[in-house]
C-alpha cells in the first residue's frame, strides 16, 4: 500500500508496447521504487532502458500494462487529475510556446497552474532573473537559440509549488553557467521539501545532486541505493592520473607495461584505472612519478561513472 509520506510509490510496474505482436517490447518489467518526500532521486541507465517510459507513466502521459504507481498517494490512472496537480515536468525535448514571448510563456504557464495575477508577475520576474533571461523577455521563443529555449522550459517549473518535479535530461543543451544555475535551483527546491526524480546521462550531475540513485536497464531496476553505498560497489576501482612536462616515447612504453583495467593518454596526461585488489595505487603512482618530470598528479576513488560501467558490464569508453 502506498503511504501518504511517500512522494512516489511504484509497485511491480509493467509496460509492454505492441502487446501480443511480433514486435512486442517490454519497456518496464516488474519495476518497483519508493521515493521519500524531499529527496532527489537519479534514474540512470543506457538509452532505451525504460527511463522515459517510466516518467511518462508517472506523469499520466502513458497507461501502464500492469502494476501500480502512486504520486503523493494518488493513483496515476484512477486519480490522474490529482496526480497532475501534484507534479511538474521538464521533458527531454524542448517544449516551449514557440509563438509567444518569453514572459508570455511564463504568464500562460502560471495561468494553467492557477497562479494569481500578482503571483504570475512576481514569480515570472523571479525566474527570468534567476535564469538570465532579462534581455530576452520580450523575444518570441521561436527566435531564441536551443539553449535559451531550454532555459525557458526549465525555469517554468520553478514558478509553481507542485510537490513532485520530474526532470528528464533537464540540463541538456545548457551552457555551464546555466547548468550550474539549474543544479543550484534543483538543490534549493529539494531543501524546501520538494521531491525530485531526474534522469540524466551526466553522471557528475547525478553525483552532485542526488540523495539516491537507481540504475535501470532493459526495464528492470538493477541497483538502488544512496550515493555512498552505490559507489562502494566499485570501491576497488581507483583512477591514477599523472601529467608530465613532456610525454616521451619512453614514458609511453613504460606506461603500457603497467597492469591496469584501462589506460588513457591525453596530450601529456596519463590516466590509469586500476583494481586496488590486485595492484597498489600508491605503488602505481610511485612508478608513474619515477618515469619523468611531472606537472601534476591525482589519485581518486570510484565515480558514479565507474559504477555505471561496472553494473552494466562495460568498460569506460
Amino acid at each position: 500500500m502506498p503511504q501518504r509520506e511517500h512522494a512516489i510509490h511504484i509497485s511491480d510496474l509493467v509496460k509492454v508496447y505492441n502487446s501480443g505482436g511480433t514486435d512486442e517490447v517490454r519497456a518496464l518489467d516488474d519495476f518497483s521504487l519508493t521515493v521519500e518526500r524531499g529527496h532527489i532521486t537519479g534514474l540512470l541507465g543506457p538509452n532505451g532502458a525504460g527511463k522515459s517510459t517510466l516518467l511518462k507513466i508517472l506523469t499520466t502521459l502513458l497507461p501502464k500494462t500492469s502494476g501500480s504507481a502512486h504520486i503523493m498517494g494518488f493513483d496515476v490512472e484512477k486519480q490522474a487529475l490529482d496526480v497532475r496537480r501534484s507534479i511538474c515536468l521538464v521533458l527531454q525535448q524542448n517544449a516551449v510556446e514557440q509563438y509567444l514571448t518569453v514572459e508570455d510563456n511564463f504568464e500562460t504557464f502560471g495561468r494553467f497552474h492557477g497562479l494569481s495575477k500578482s503571483e504570475r508577475r512576481e514569480r515570472g520576474d523571479r525566474v527570468i532573473h534567476a535564469f538570465g533571461l532579462e534581455a530576452e523577455r520580450r523575444q518570441k521563443a521561436i527566435d531564441l537559440s536551443g539553449g535559451y529555449k531550454r532555459r525557458v522550459q526549465v525555469a517554468k517549473v520553478f514558478m509553481i509549488d507542485a510537490p513532485v518535479i520530474f526532470l528528464d535530461e533537464a540540463t541538456t543543451g545548457m551552457d555551464p553557467i546555466n547548468k550550474r544555475a539549474t543544479i543550484d535551483a534543483v538543490a534549493e527546491e529539494a531543501r524546501r521539501g520538494r521531491t525530485i526524480l531526474l534522469t540524466t546521462h551526466l553522471l557528475d550531475e547525478a553525483e552532485e545532486l542526488c540523495d539516491s540513485i537507481v540504475f535501470i536497464d532493459k526495464g528492470r531496476k538493477i541497483l538502488e541505493g544512496d550515493l555512498f553505498t552505490i559507489k562502494a560497489l566499485a570501491r576497488n576501482i581507483v583512477d591514477v592520473s599523472v601529467t608530465y612536462e613532456t610525454l616521451t616515447p619512453d614514458i609511453r612504453d613504460a606506461v603500457e607495461r603497467i597492469p591496469a583495467r584501462k589506460r588513457e593518454v591525453q596530450h601529456s596526461t596519463v590516466l590509469l584505472t586500476i583494481d586496488s585488489a590486485t595492484a597498489s595505487p600508491h605503488a602505481v603512482l610511485g612508478t608513474l612519478l619515477d618515469l619523468g618530470p611531472t606537472l601534476a598528479f591525482e589519485v581518486r576513488g570510484a565515480t558514479l561513472e565507474d559504477v555505471f560501467m561496472q553494473v552494466l558490464g562495460k568498460e569506460k569508453p
Binding site: 487529475l81 515536468l89 524542448n94 516551449v96 510556446e97 514557440q98 495561468r111 494553467f112
Partner: protein
C-alpha cells in the same frame, strides 16, 4: 494544492490561443482578414461576370449574395484547419505533451480550444457579413443573424474535431499538409461553396450531396439569404449533427491515444 477549477482551466487554454493569434500577423490574416478578401475579390470579379445573378433552388440572387455563405463556411473550415494544426505544431514543439501533464482534464483542454474557435469564428463571421452588407450590398435576414453565427460556429467545431483526428494521428508534417490540402481542395470544389449545384453533372451532385461542407454551406445560405428548401436544410442539419458527433468521438479517441 490549489482547488481544481474547470472554468479557470478552460480560460487558460483560451488565453493561450488568444495570445498566439493576437501576436501573429499570419494568424490574424488567415483567421480574420482572408475571408473578407475572398468576398471582396469575388465581389468585384465574379459578381460582374454574372450580371444576371445565379439561380439557386428556383430563386435568382446576386453572386455576392450566393457566395457570402460559401465564404463563411470556407472561413470556418480554415479556422478549424488552423486550430487543429495547432495540435500538430504543439506536438512538434513538445509542448503538447507538457500540456497533458498540466492540472486539467483532457476535456477541459479540448473544450477551451473549441470555445476559442467558436469565438473567433463568430468574430470572423461578423466581419465578413458586415463587409457583405456594407460594401457589396448583400441583403441578409437580420432576424436570423444570431442563428447564422451560431450555426457557423457549431459547424466549425465539427470541422475542428474532424481535422484534429488527422492532426493527432498523423506524425509527419509533410504527410499532414498533403492530406489537409487534398481534403481542402476536394471538399471545397465538390460542394456548393463556389457554384450552385442545380445544373451540375449527376456525379458531382452525388459527391457534393454527401459532402458535409455542402451541408454546412447550405445551412448558412438558408440562414443568410434564405435560399433552399426548409426540409432539405433541416435534413442537412441532422446529417451534420451525426457527422459532428462521429468526429467528436473520433477526436477525443485520437487525443487520448496521442500521448
Amino acid at each position: 494544492m490549489r482547488a481544481h477549477s474547470p472554468f479557470r482551466n478552460v480560460a487558460a487554454v483560451m488565453y493561450r490561443e488568444y495570445k498566439i493569434r493576437i501576436t501573429s500577423f499570419t494568424w490574424l490574416f488567415y483567421d480574420l482578414a482572408l475571408p473578407a478578401f475572398y468576398l471582396l475579390l469575388f465581389g468585384i470579379g465574379l459578381n460582374t461576370a454574372f450580371t444576371g445573378g445565379v439561380a439557386v433552388g428556383g430563386a435568382v440572387i446576386s453572386y455576392n449574395a450566393f457566395f457570402l455563405a460559401g465564404v463563411l463556411s470556407m472561413a470556418g473550415f480554415g479556422i478549424a484547419i488552423n486550430t487543429s494544426y495547432g495540435f500538430f505544431v504543439d506536438r512538434d514543439n513538445g509542448i503538447f505533451y507538457e500540456f497533458l501533464t498540466y492540472p486539467m482534464t483532457r476535456g477541459e483542454f479540448l473544450f477551451g480550444k473549441i470555445l476559442f474557435s467558436l469565438c473567433i469564428t463568430t468574430v470572423q463571421s461578423a466581419i465578413t457579413v458586415a463587409i457583405g452588407v456594407a460594401v457589396l450590398r448583400v441583403q441578409i435576414s437580420l432576424p436570423l443573424l444570431p442563428l447564422l453565427f451560431l450555426a457557423n460556429a457549431v459547424c466549425t467545431a465539427g470541422w475542428f474535431f474532424c481535422l484534429s483526428i488527422f492532426a493527432l494521428r498523423i506524425r509527419r508534417n509533410d504527410l499532414y499538409n498533403t492530406v489537409i490540402n487534398v481534403a481542402y481542395f476536394v471538399l471545397m470544389f465538390a460542394s456548393s461553396i463556389f457554384f450552385p449545384l442545380d445544373n451540375s453533372p449527376a456525379w458531382l451532385k452525388i459527391l457534393a450531396g454527401a459532402n458535409p461542407l455542402t451541408w454546412h454551406t447550405d445551412i448558412l445560405r438558408y440562414l443568410s439569404v434564405g435560399t433552399g428548401e426548409a426540409n432539405t436544410v433541416l435534413l442537412q442539419c441532422a446529417a451534420y449533427a451525426v457527422f459532428a458527433v462521429a468526429v467528436f468521438i473520433g477526436g477525443v479517441r485520437a487525443l487520448r491515444a496521442s500521448a
